[in-house]
C-alpha cells in the first residue's frame, strides 16, 4: 500500500477498469453504435456490389477497400480518447488515481481495439456467405483479417496520440483522418508516381511507399503472406505512438 511500486495484478486491474469504463462511454455517447452500424452497412454493401460484378469467391475486394474506409471511421473512435478527458477536465481526476500514464493509455487503447474488433466482426457474414457459395481459402481470409486488425491498431495508436494533443474532438478527428489518408495514399501507385514526378531526383513518392505507407505491409497479409517485417511495422509503430501518447500526457499535466 505504501510502496511506490505497482504489482502486475494491480496494473492489470487498473488497465481493465479504464478499458471497461471507456467501452461503456463509447456506447453511452452513441459513437459505438453509429460507427459500427455505418461501417457495417458501407463496407458490406460496397463489397457485395463488387462481388456480384466479379463473382470471385474471396475477400480480397473487401480487404482492399478497408484502408480508405478505416482512415475515415477509426478517427471517429479515437478522437474522444483524450480530447474528451481534456475538455471535461476529467484527465486530472483520472491521472491522480494510482495509475501510470502508460497504463491509462493502454486501457483506452484496448477499449478502442475492442470496438474496432466489433466493427470488423460485422463483416463476418461475408466469409460465411462465401463458404456457402463456394470454396474460399480460409488461410487467406484469416491472414487478411489479421492484417486488417493490425492496420486498424496502428490507426488507433496514432489517433490516441493526436487526441492527447488537443481538447477539441473535431481537431483530433480531422488531424487523425489526414494522417490516416497519408498512410494510405502514399501506398497508392498513382500517388507515388505523381509525387515522384514532382521531385524526380529525390523520388520522395517511392521513398514514402517503401518506408512509410501502411498499404504495402497490409497488402502482404491480404495476399496471405505473413512476413515478420510487416508484423514488426505495425506493432513497433503502434507501440511508438502509444508510448509517445504517455509522454505527452505526462508533459501536459496541468
Amino acid at each position: 500500500m505504501s510502496s511506490n511500486r505497482m504489482s502486475f495484478a494491480e496494473g492489470r486491474r487498473t488497465i481493465r477498469a479504464i478499458a471497461t469504463r471507456e467501452i461503456g462511454a463509447n456506447f453511452d455517447s452513441g459513437i459505438a453504435y453509429v460507427t459500427t452500424i455505418a461501417f457495417a452497412l458501407l463496407s458490406n454493401s460496397i463489397f457485395m456490389n463488387g462481388f456480384f460484378l466479379t463473382g470471385t469467391v474471396d475477400m480480397t475486394g473487401f480487404f482492399d477497400l478497408l484502408p480508405l474506409l478505416l482512415a475515415f471511421f477509426l478517427p471517429a473512435i479515437s478522437m474522444r480518447m483524450w480530447a474528451e478527458e481534456h475538455k471535461q477536465r476529467t484527465v486530472e481526476l483520472l491521472l491522480t488515481f494510482p495509475v501510470r500514464p502508460f497504463q491509462a493509455v493502454l486501457g483506452k487503447y484496448i477499449a478502442a481495439l475492442v470496438l474496432y474488433t466489433l466493427m470488423l466482426a460485422c463483416s463476418l457474414p461475408i466469409p460465411v456467405m462465401l463458404a456457402v457459395l463456394g470454396n474460399p481459402d480460409p488461410g487467406l481470409i484469416l491472414s487478411g483479417y489479421l492484417g486488417s486488425f493490425l492496420f486498424g491498431a496502428l490507426f488507433l495508436a496514432f489517433g490516441s496520440l493526436l487526441s492527447a494533443l488537443t481538447a477539441d474532438q473535431i481537431v483530433s478527428f480531422v488531424t487523425s483522418t489526414l494522417v490516416g489518408f497519408l498512410f494510405v495514399l502514399t501506398g497508392e501507385e498513382r500517388v507515388v508516381a505523381i509525387v515522384d514526378g514532382l521531385f524526380p531526383a529525390l523520388k520522395i513518392g517511392s521513398f514514402l511507399f517503401e518506408n512509410f505507407s501502411a498499404l504495402p505491409p497490409l497488402g502482404e497479409f491480404v495476399r496471405g503472406v505473413i512476413e515478420l517485417s510487416s508484423l514488426a511495422y505495425f506493432v513497433l509503430l503502434s507501440v511508438l505512438f502509444l508510448w509517445t501518447t504517455g509522454l505527452v500526457l505526462e508533459k501536459n499535466r496541468g
Binding site: 479504464i18 462511454a25 453511452d28 491522480t96 488515481f97
Partner: protein, 242 residues
C-alpha cells in the same frame, strides 16, 4: 501527514507559488484561504501529484510527490476544482469505477459504498447519470468518490462552490466529522465557512504564505484588536497587496 517545505511553482516567467511551507497533522481540518489566483489550486495540484513543484519538497503521508507519486496517490482523496466527473456514467457505476481504480475488494467496496452513500446523501441519484444530477448532488458525489477508499489525507479544492447555504452547513459538518482520523485540507473563498469548521487557517496571496495560525489564536487576536476575525484576515491580505 502533509508537509510542504519551501515549495515554489513557476509557469514560465510567472511565479505562482513562492517558497510556501506548512504542515497538516492527522486529526486536523485546515482551511485554505486566498483570493482568486492566489495559488491555492496550484498548491493542491502539486500535493496530489497533478503538477510537479519547481522547487521545494512536498511529502504526503511520508511519501515525496516527486519520487513516490503512486504512493502519494494511494494516500489521498482529491476533489479537484470544478469537480470534473464522467458525465455519461451512472452514479453507481462511477463509484464502482473509482473503487476498482483504488483497488478495493468487493467486500470492502460494498462496505465503503454503503457508508459514503449514507454520509453524502446520494442514495436517490445512484441510478441516475452524472449529467442528470444537480450541482449539489454532483459536489456530494465528487466528495463521495474522494473518500470512498478512506484515505488518510483528504484534499478538497473549493468543495462548497455552488452549494446552497443548507448544503454548505451539512457539508461543513461532514468535513468536521472526517477530522477524527484524517488530515483534511480544503480551499475556499468564503471566510466564514473556513473559520467555522477549521482547526487552523492557512491564507496565501500572490503565491506567498500570509497566515498559518490556529483559528482559536486568530479569534483571540481579533478580539484583542477589536475587530472581527474576517476583518483581521482581510486586512492582512490587503496589506500584502500594498
Amino acid at each position: 501527514m502533509i508537509q510542504v517545505d519551501q515549495v515554489t511553482k513557476r509557469y514560465g516567467p510567472t511565479l505562482a507559488v513562492d517558497r510556501v511551507s506548512f504542515e497538516v497533522k492527522e486529526g486536523e481540518v485546515v482551511g485554505f484561504l486566498g483570493p482568486n489566483g492566489a495559488g491555492k489550486s496550484t498548491l493542491l495540484r502539486m500535493m496530489c501529484t497533478w503538477l510537479p513543484p519547481t522547487g521545494g519538497t512536498i511529502r504526503i503521508a511520508g511519501h515525496d510527490v516527486r519520487t513516490q507519486p503512486l504512493a502519494v496517490r494511494r494516500s489521498i482523496g482529491y476533489l479537484p476544482e470544478h469537480n470534473p466527473l464522467y458525465e455519461t456514467m451512472r452514479v453507481d457505476r462511477f463509484l464502482a469505477f473509482v473503487a476498482e481504480m483504488r483497488g478495493l475488494s468487493a467486500e470492502r467496496f460494498a462496505e465503503r459504498r454503503a457508508w459514503v452513500v449514507e454520509q453524502c446523501h446520494i442514495e436517490e441519484i445512484l441510478t441516475k447519470r452524472v449529467q442528470q444530477c444537480s450541482k449539489g448532488f454532483r459536489q456530494r458525489l465528487g466528495l463521495a468518490a474522494a473518500i470512498l477508499h478512506d484515505p488518510p489525507v483528504v484534499l478538497l479544492d473549493e468543495p462548497t462552490h455552488g452549494l446552497d447555504p443548507l448544503q454548505v452547513a451539512a457539508f461543513l459538518e461532514f468535513i468536521r466529522g472526517l477530522a477524527k482520523n484524517h488530515a483534511v485540507l480544503f480551499s475556499s473563498h468564503v471566510l466564514a465557512e473556513v473559520v467555522n469548521v477549521s482547526d487552523r487557517l492557512i491564507a496565501i496571496n500572490n503565491g506567498r504564505l500570509l497566515i498559518d495560525e490556529a483559528v482559536s489564536k486568530l479569534r483571540t487576536r481579533a478580539e484583542e484588536s477589536g475587530r472581527s476575525i474576517e476583518d483581521l484576515i482581510l486586512d492582512e491580505v490587503r496589506g500584502s497587496n500594498a
